[in-house]
Symmetry: C2
């Protein structure tokens, strides 16, 4: 039916043809927007909001409690640079090879077999449909950055196969069919069967594809599921109860509401977030699911990390539509719990392998860190929503930390291998294979693909008084202010390798508005000048409001101090006792054993902090290392352990430790495990005496 | 049918009546042995070995590859002292309250209902039968130390209930009955259903009870299961395959062989240890089960820790009967793997909660330590067997470490609460309730009870050239040398609180033999004198062979240096970086927050090692604390953290840390969590600069 190899070759050549127009340009995007732009901020009869071309990742145009409004992915072109390279790998390698792997592993045939187009057996776990939907969403976001005709054609065939499976009553699932059909939507099935999780991803995929192409086929199927199957039968009494076994449908329903303006979609999300007492589950299960009890009764992050993050995304979306103060209080309680006690320095969350779960407060093991790629993505998506609600830079700091580190580590440099776990220390002798092309539970790979494909949508927001700049990279925005004035913003930078960002602001006409410039919270110092004139009062961890009458060609220069820093962890993080992590700019660093002097083992190495008053790092850009990275060097010591110290336990003897000075080399954490297997650690002992 | 309350009151009074004769005396034991003692080393027609009264925990009399031979539990009387108190709590509180809880939770009714003596439903997991059997084994061992008529009467009724359930074909199980009977002994059922695990515990319970009373009812039922049900139907082709889903049957079958001399019992154990390729399971499962592949193909400890330890026990027993060099090589490989990389300083093993499993090498988290009580017991039982095979004191050191710490912590001081997990650090704010009277999987409580009840059997061994002294406590041995000479050995000591042990050696006639005196490996120094004359060349970690002609009244004085020690862990144990554990004698110490100066938190405390060249501890016996313990005091420092340091991550600043001197108080680890909930830690930071 499908020949993955020839299909892949076909797609590769298709992509190499379009790559030239995809990456550097962007003019065709302005072209694409020009037409429909007249409908901006206006309702048309069928659509609640701004039209499919003009919606961001989320369409917050009409969300009463969103302070910021997102800009379309197509309005931002990320050019060659840090993310340009990653996004090139995503569209040229990741998305096509994942297509082939989904085919090879029967995920598309799961649909086709139900309409007689395949004789294959059902394969994969209950959530296998979501793999296809998440990949479709990645395609949708990619197409919002520019047409890729072959990819689009391939995807539309898959969409045809999907919608063909939908039943007359609106139900759509490839697992609860045939002899399993009787289990559909039973409370127990909902708690483990991922039926609505799958539909949540279907809706997100459909919306991304619709916003790329205007094509509603998958979106209409999703609306049929919601309107024909779900709403008439499920919900508050007397309907049958809903159990959100894996939160995801909540945020999808609210984004659907932003398209349909159908209040039932919002209300259904609210009902699900509240939990239905008619379908009680043991506390252990409601903790794990992060659902089934009122969201507003939660006081800490616990249970399955991805479930918790997706539930928080849905709850933030619900807050942005309703302004419910209980939701806002709970969201902030949970956020404080996370950033104060449960988040890795990488922005990864969910430290516990058992149950893929949040651990106790300060339970942040490094070797055993779970840090699922999907959970870091959920963390970014949640902080993006919290940022949209508030404009508070503390959320951007977390978002950027997760993006550059705990998410970015999840995909290999060439875009074909993925981490499921993202540990902060690694010993290859355990036999763990950390990067793989495929997992039978393949949630993370297409999730990483959709994040990279959607990345332009995270760079800017508009607000009533102007525009926010969240992220820095070589890029170009072609959009307009909320008063309708077209504006172009060009960033020229070598960020994150360098802290200088030159930003040219070109409104179509001289306009007074505020440019909210993010000053990252991790920097010790930043300088800003406008048209060469230095400003005072720059505070890291805030948006710097630059209110003036901007005219085309105005240039803002941001200079962020990028000196490498040593971070310590709270003393309650027991595995980090006596250790430091290095960070330069937004990037967390690590050591791989292969980069240290021959024969030395990471376990015998410490950073030497005995000299001088401040750490002495040297930064050097190495174009040939790991696709080009800034490496850090620092003096280190090699402990010469006695034979007793090689034992598991030995007696402490108070004496100067025998050490030898050695040079140490650090690479960005995201780039680890891209060469031969090698021991790795983020938190390195500090030698002080 | 049974009224637990009145039964308990009845038993309590019965025990208080017998307690006087139970604890201090022991003369009645000599009486009990006198009769059958003439058969020692002689075969009688039906029995392979030395007669039921004279067998130790294991009867190694005829085991060709056992260097040491065990002495009967009844030959050793543990008098008032460290273990006397624990054993008093065991027999007065633990065994009777566990009886009532097993009743209250339906574990005995599971048997009775099958013969119409109860209308209760089946309750508990598949391994519930083993709870009753393990409790029976505890009773059997307790009765070997002296008669407890009411306990015996109660147990014989339970035994009647058990054997009544046995089917004509020999099968006996209360779970795979009625509509589950069709699942019996299917390979999949064997892998998870614990049928043979239950029978293994039944055999061990039956043997202990037989060796206490000469009563064979339960033993004969066990033999019927093996001879009538198992042997004719299961085993190498053409019989049906056996899968040892939870190893346990192996060591039980070999101990049965030592009673029956039926080679089929030994061979069946060997077959099971080899695994049957006709019942293949995924590697993940054979790792978890620590069975299903040839034992001799194992190269490291992994998978479920209790399963692994029990498999190692069975394999060591198999070695002692067969001398198979491949087994011996594998056993030593696994032992080295454990003590070099996978054992807590408490002697606990199985660090990983997920799968109750061994972790990777050096994966020894403290807060998240699993350290199941059963696994520490398995560790002790395995090392006891390795010691029996060799007479090598390195195994006694591990056995003692597990006994005094990781096992001993498993039972509350009053004997009514049990730990399932035995973490090495604890934060009560997690809500964990660490000591409980009952677990639905209640494997650990009766396991702890059987170990304490069997403890006298671990004190001595005989060998062709004399006698080994393994453990020290106020106690009396009445037994004989292997040449038949009766001998009495009396230990007078306050061990482990004090290092002086006076040992009087009284053979019935002057005899030349070797007294192998264990010099613990943890001490820095030990002195030994015989009749007041000091000996030279004492080496810790070895048995000191004292060969001479001993005459009644000879006295050996052993003085073991008990100075508290600070231990460091191998630098690869990341959670112990910069930390030390305290040990005094065989006891590992810990801090409970409630014992430190008011208002200080463990997380802000370190041991002050800035003064002098050696740690300055003060030891003090506190009779009113925790039933009487030696506490340790040491200078400490309290870190005054800056507000930044209270964050999850903050920038490292090179400056002297602000500290305040405070006194610290340490208690033995085994006694933790016997007062109000309080934070606890074994591994404490060391402040050196």
């Amino acid at each position: 039916m499908v020949d993955p190899v020839s299909r892949r070759q076909f797609l590769r050549s298709a992509i190499s043809m379009t790559a030239a127009s995809y990456l550097p340009g962007g003019d065709f995007l302005a072209q694409a927007i020009r037409g429909p732009s007249s409908s901006w901020q206006g309702d048309d009869s069928s659509m609640h909001t701004s039209g499919w071309q003009n919606a961001g990742i989320e369409d917050l145009t009409k969300s009463p409690h969103a302070k910021l409004h997102q800009v379309p992915i197509r309005a931002v072109t990320i050019k060659s640079g840090f993310w340009g390279r990653r996004r090139q790998a995503n569209v040229a390698n990741s998305i096509p090879t994942m297509h082939d792997l989904l085919e090879a592993n029967g995920r598309m045939n799961n649909f086709r077999r139900l309409v007689g187009k395949s004789s294959a057996q059902q394969t994969g776990p209950v959530y296998s449909d979501s793999d296809v939907y998440k990949w479709t969403e990645a395609v949708g976001f990619a197409l919002q950055s520019g047409d890729l005709p072959e990819l689009r054609q391939m995807t539309e065939k898959i969409i045809d196969d999907i919608v063909a499976v939908q039943q007359a009553d609106g139900y759509l699932n490839t697992y609860y069919v045939e002899d399993r059909a009787s289990l559909r939507m039973l409370p127990q099935t909902q708690s483990t069967g991922h039926e609505l999780y799958n539909i949540g991803h279907m809706l997100q995929g459909a919306i991304a594809y619709y916003r790329a192409t205007g094509e509603r086929k998958l979106l209409d199927a999703g609306i049929r599921f919601v309107n024909d199957f779900l709403l008439p039968n499920y919900g508050p009494a007397p309907s049958k109860p809903i159990v959100s076994g894996h939160p995801e449908i909540e945020m999808a329903l609210i984004e659907l509401y932003r398209i349909t303006a159908d209040k039932r979609h919002l209300n259904l999300a609210g009902y699900i977030l509240e939990g239905d007492a008619r379908a009680p589950f043991p506390e252990r299960r409601t903790i794990y699911m992060f659902s089934g009890t009122p969201f507003t009764s939660r006081t800490k992050l616990e249970g399955h990390a991805v479930r918790a993050m997706y539930a928080c995304c849905g709850a933030t979306d619900y807050y942005m539509e309703t302004g419910d103060a209980n939701y806002w209080r709970t969201l902030n309680t949970l956020w404080n719990d996370m950033v104060s006690t449960k988040m890795y320095v990488s922005g990864g969350v969910g430290s516990r392998s058992e149950g893929e779960a949040f651990g106790d407060a300060y339970e942040l093991p490094n070797f055993r860190a779970y840090g699922e790629s999907c959970a870091a993505i959920g963390n970014m998506m949640w902080n993006w929503r919290m940022l949209s609600a508030t404009g508070d830079a503390k959320f951007t700091d977390v978002m950027e930390r997760a993006l550059y580190n705990g998410i970015n580590s999840g995909m290999s440099l060439d875009g074909t291998l993925y981490c499921y776990r993202n540990p902060l220390a690694f010993d290859p002798s355990t036999g763990d294979k950390i990067r793989n092309p495929w997992y039978d539970t393949t949630c993370c790979p297409p999730n990483l693909e959709r994040i990279l494909a959607s990345l332009p949508g995270y760079f800017y927001s508009t607000t009533s008084d102007g525009i926010y700049v969240h992220l820095y990279d070589n890029s170009e925005l072609s959009w307009r202010l909320e008063d309708g004035t077209p504006i172009k913003i060009v960033q020229k930078t070598n960020y994150p390798w360098d802290g200088v960002v030159d930003i040219s602001i070109s409104p179509a006409k001289a306009s007074q508005f505020t440019l909210h410039l993010r000053i990252p919270g991790w920097t010790e110092d930043a300088q800003v000048n406008v048209n060469g004139k230095a400003l005072a009062g720059i505070t890291p961890g805030q948006y710097l409001p630059l209110n003036r009458t901007w005219v085309s060609g105005d240039v803002v220069r941001l200079q962020i101090d990028m000196h490498p820093q040593m971070l310590i962890a709270n003393s309650r993080v027991v595995e980090d006792t006596g250790r430091v992590a290095l960070q330069r700019g937004p990037l967390v660093y690590c050591m791989e054993e292969m980069d240290q002097p021959a024969g030395t083992r990471l376990v015998d190495i410490a950073i030497d902090a005995t000299h001088g008053s401040q750490p002495g790092f040297q930064s050097e850009f190495k174009p040939d290392v790991l696709d080009g990275v800034v490496v850090l060097r620092h003096d280190g010591v090699l402990f010469e352990r006695s034979s007793g110290e090689r034992l598991l336990y030995s007696q402490y003897v108070q004496r100067p430790q025998k050490t030898k000075r050695i040079p140490l080399l650090f690479i960005p954490y995201y780039a680890w495990a891209n060469r031969q297997p090698s021991a790795m650690e983020v938190w390195t002992p500090l030698f002080r005496s």
